[in-house]
């Protein structure tokens, strides 16, 4: 059984706290009284069948989805509802999307400098230097002057990670970051994420990659039908799932 890398987060202070969060899409109850605490430096991997609410949960943390009930606190304060305060929160929360969503009309470099310049108020030169450093770290430094459409999916997703990191976020949210990738590109993205986890970045990762959950997570959260059904260290969850729902899910994805 692989042991999670990086420092154990036990006892660390809470960075993201969800308490009794509820969310409906019309008549569909997508989040049902969800409680979740993410500590500083902790990697939480959220897994579960499609439609279980895990993406919604992830998107609610930077308020791309509003919630109907309960409370989400970030860094000790409730999420602001809108305006400048909300923009400031989002700048501190990095987000990586399933479909990359790089700005299509801007070069790779401009994608990574934009937030630094327009939100953080950095000058072009230092933003560019930081962007090149990050692009190097995710292994796409040579693509800096290309446009997103000229890159492979894996390269685009790594640029998207660099774009989020450029804001020096306190937490990184990954919403199924490898689900839109060709199989041979999944590992290059996961490798970047493993590095981040090892460097102590706080991460919430929604994924179907069980190998990543085993090797990088401190906590695995299993969701089904809008509820958190099980929450455990990866070796406990994968070795000895307690709920029928989780056992059923694991048997379907691990033995084929």
């Amino acid at each position: 059984m692989p042991v999670p890398e990086g420092p154990a987060p036990e006892g660390g202070d809470a960075l993201v706290v969800l308490s009794r969060v509820d969310k409906h899409f019309g008549s569909l109850h997508v989040l049902r009284a969800v409680d979740l605490t993410v500590h500083r430096g902790e990697v939480v991997v959220v897994i579960g069948p499609s439609g279980s609410g895990k993406s919604t949960l992830c998107r609610a943390i930077n308020r791309l989805e509003t919630i109907d009930g309960g409370e989400i606190r970030f860094d000790g304060r409730p999420l602001p509802a809108e305006g400048r305060e909300l923009a400031r929160l989002r700048a501190d929360v990095g987000m990586v999307f399933q479909s990359f969503d790089l700005f299509a009309h801007k070069t790779v470099l401009d994608n990574v400098t934009l937030g630094q310049i327009k939100v953080r108020g950095k000058d072009r030169k230092s933003a560019g230097a930081r962007a090149r450093e990050l692009l190097g770290r995710v292994g796409v430094a040579a693509q800096a002057d290309k446009y997103p459409a000229q890159l492979s999916g894996g390269q685009q997703q790594r640029v998207a990670i660099a774009r989020a990191l450029a804001m020096d976020p306190k937490v990184m949210l990954f919403d199924e970051p490898t689900s839109a990738l060709d199989p041979e590109m999944i590992n290059e993205v996961l490798e970047v994420m493993r590095h981040l986890a090892r460097d102590g970045m706080t991460m919430v990762v929604v994924t179907h990659e069980m190998g990543f959950a085993r090797s990088a997570a401190h906590q695995v959260v299993f969701m089904a039908d809008g509820r958190i059904v099980e929450q455990a260290a990866p070796e406990d969850f994968f070795g000895n799932p307690r709920s029928d729902r989780a056992r059923d899910f694991l048997s379907k994805i691990l033995h084929h």
Binding site: A87, M95, D101, A104, Q150
Partner: protein
């Protein structure tokens, strides 16, 4: 064969047409963009205003708008737009009327362009902490403009031809001169052909140039 042209300032008249087109195009691009921004913005009052504006202005004949600028704004309300010579006043009133009218079409073209920008682009921008105006200005509008260069070229060509309506309030552009020449000379068909050719010289290059630009500017996804 062309001696009847003597004594008429054909180039001068078309130059006024070009100026009318240029200033109205600039004005309606700005005002139309602002209207489009209001239509997609989060403020209900602005959304309502912009959609009412487009709905009303788009459906009023341009002649009515142009005549209103002269009879309503200038002669009744005394608005002369900072000019004191009649020709200048009429020119500016015509630009105002053409701008008010054309911006409704610019707004609609641009709005359809905004609809081609994937929602993910907006979410990614918001997730970085960009404000709504920043997202619009830096991410959405640049991509929207690139996808509607073609439709905007149509609007520009229509505008070029619509400037002839300014003749109704005595702006000395091409159509006014044409009317004068037709009255004075016995060359109805030839005169019409000359002016038609003049407009083709203005609009065909516009279409070709912007068509090429449209292909170049298109956002690759």
């Amino acid at each position: 064969m062309f001696d009847f042209l003597e004594g008429y300032d054909l180039l001068g008249a078309f130059w006024v047409t070009v100026q009318l087109t240029f200033w109205s195009a600039l004005g309606s691009l700005l005002w139309g963009t602002l209207l489009a921004a209001m239509r997609v913005g989060p403020v209900p009052l602005m959304r309502g205003f912009a959609s009412a504006y487009v709905g009303i202005v788009r459906n009023i004949p341009l002649t009515v708008i142009i005549v209103f600028t002269s009879l309503g704004l200038f002669q009744t309300l005394g608005i002369s737009l900072g000019a004191d010579r009649f020709t200048t006043i009429n020119f500016r009133l015509a630009v105002l009327g053409l701008t008010a009218y054309t911006s409704a079409f610019v707004c609609e073209a641009l709005r359809s362009g905004i609809n081609t920008v994937p929602l993910g682009q907006v979410e990614a921008a918001r997730a970085l902490g960009l404000s709504f105006p920043q997202t619009l200005r830096l991410i959405v509008l640049p991509q929207a403009f690139r996808s509607v260069v073609g439709p905007l070229a149509n609007v520009l060509i229509a505008l070029t031809k619509n400037t002839t309506v300014a003749a109704a309030i005595g702006v000395a552009e091409a159509a006014l001169l044409m009317r004068e020449m037709i009255e004075n000379e016995a060359q109805l068909i030839l005169i019409s052909a000359i002016f038609a050719f003049g407009f083709l010289c203005l609009t065909l290059p516009t279409g070709l140039l912007l068509g090429r630009l449209a292909r170049k500017a298109a956002v690759k996804r």
